[in-house]
């Protein structure tokens, strides 16, 4: 590896530039070569890019804490459980939640997921075209979420609206005024909480066979979860479990649309699907980074980090680090060693990783079974959002089946 570039300009990365969202791998490679720990443009906060450094930080919550000033101001003034709390408090919640998100539990939802995926495909397959994000990538995980929690699928539209109000209020308000968007976000948050409150009341009175009922009756050390705890958990599931899967589906299909040879290998050998899902998670890493707060002064990769600084652990960069991955810039569905960090690592390992993997596997299989040949509409180009890499615009075309 070459020595860190002394030029301060070269040690700056802009994680919110459009080029970064579209093709972050180039930026990652530059960081590995020139500045494994850089500073972010505008905020000036440290950004860690090497695999070894990132997994080490993820596994040391005592040094890199998740307890930070609340950013998604929703008027709750409470941290998100379990994402914004550190062990050992976080561990107690994970012990309670993990069993409800195990691979076995998620496998029970698989047949229904297959049905939902096919219902969506039925709506547009004969047209020979679709707008992948709103037509497939958004509704599929949202339907899965409703099913998981035990909410009526007919609430889908209502839910999508509120979710957008929180995650991308600017789309709803059509404004870039921060205050306007903050107000819209708080209002959507309030409506979601009110909605969940009703569901909690209902499940307290009439237990069902769903996650909400289990949360209502769950206990930690003999004590029930408080109403606020349940609300906060549901809210986090909503924030963490929808856009992430949407973004991953978009990144995967955009990649496969642009790489027909690899797409055909998947169509011919569906047994490659699991390997493809893992490899595309690695290559695309749709959640590009996670935030932490430094708990003491440290030097990482030649850069001084001060106690209290907000640090970004750049999962996407770690996932293409040549020191960890053989031929790290080659996308190989049969990669033998793939310890990617797309779901994070350490105590905060994605709670929904088994659900996400199931959704991705089912979606990829059903899509390619029904629509094996497709491409980006001629003259069009996919458009990626910064932050979580949702492919907001991905118009696809194919020969409609006769």
């Amino acid at each position: 590896m070459s020595a860190p570039n002394p030029d301060p300009e070269a040690r700056t990365v802009n994680l919110f530039a459009p080029e970064f969202a579209r093709c972050p791998q180039e930026v990652y490679a530059r960081m590995h070569a020139e500045c494994p720990v850089a500073r972010a443009a505008i905020t000036n906060s440290p950004v860690i890019s090497r695999y070894e450094d990132v997994i080490w930080a993820l596994r040391h919550p005592d040094l890199f804490s998740s307890e930070m000033e609340l950013q998604m101001a929703l008027g709750t003034e409470r941290p998100m459980i379990p994402q914004q709390i550190d062990p050992p408090a976080q561990t107690r919640y994970r012990k309670l939640l993990d069993p409800h998100f195990s691979r076995k539990k998620m496998a029970e939802l698989e047949p229904d997921m297959r049905g939902y995926a096919n219902d969506l495909i039925d709506r547009f397959i004969d047209a020979g075209r679709c707008d992948f994000d709103p037509d497939f990538a958004v509704p599929l995980p949202c339907t899965a979420f409703l099913r998981l929690i035990g909410l009526p699928l007919s609430d889908l539209e209502f839910f999508l609206e509120l979710k957008n109000g929180i995650i991308r209020p600017q789309l709803k308000t059509q404004s870039i005024d921060q205050e306007v968007n903050r107000t819209a976000r708080v209002e959507s948050g309030r409506q979601i909480y009110a909605y969940f409150e009703e569901v909690i009341d209902d499940r307290t009175a009439r237990p069902g066979d769903d996650l909400m009922t289990q949360l209502v009756h769950a206990e930690i050390g003999g004590e029930r979860l408080s109403r606020n705890e349940i609300l906060d958990i549901c809210f986090l599931l909503l924030l963490a479990g929808l856009d992430t899967v949407t973004a991953t589906l978009g990144c995967n299909i955009a990649y496969l649309a642009a790489n027909p040879k690899q797409r055909r290998s998947l169509v011919e050998k569906p047994e490659l699907t699991d390997g493809a899902v893992e490899e595309l998670l690695r290559w695309e890493t749709p959640v590009t980074g996670v935030p932490r707060v430094a708990r003491k002064d440290m030097t990482v990769g030649g850069l001084e980090i001060k106690e209290g600084e907000l640090v970004t652990l750049l999962l996407g960069a770690a996932d293409i680090d040549a020191d960890e991955f053989e031929a790290s810039d080659r996308v190989d569905f049969e990669r033998a060693r793939n310890r990617h960090l797309a779901f994070g690592g350490g105590p905060h390992r994605c709670l929904g990783s088994h659900l996400a993997r199931m959704e991705l596997r089912v979606a990829m299989q059903e899509w390619h079974r029904r629509i094996p040949e497709y491409q980006v509409a001629p003259g069009e180009a996919p458009r990626y959002s910064p932050g979580i890499r949702e492919v907001l615009y991905l118009p696809l075309v194919w020969d409609a089946p006769r």
Partner: protein, 63 residues
């Protein structure tokens, strides 16, 4: 071949019991439980794959 899992490092990614279901199982939380500490020859390839895909490096193999 023998396998061990460092329970303190395991956080339940589940790669091991996905890739080598004969050798590894899961507890209630989805953390790894070794089913076959002495890995028979026909299970050695999947066991190696599990080791190579655990992000926490929680699996140790002794040949």
């Amino acid at each position: 071949m023998k396998v061990r899992v460092d329970a303190a490092a395991c956080v339940g990614h589940g790669r091991c019991y996905e890739l080598a279901p004969g050798v590894f199982g899961e507890d209630e939380r989805g953390h790894c439980r070794v089913l076959l500490p002495d890995v028979p020859p026909e299970q050695q390839k999947p066991a190696r794959a599990a080791e190579a895909n655990c992000p926490e490096r929680a699996i140790q193999i002794e040949a």
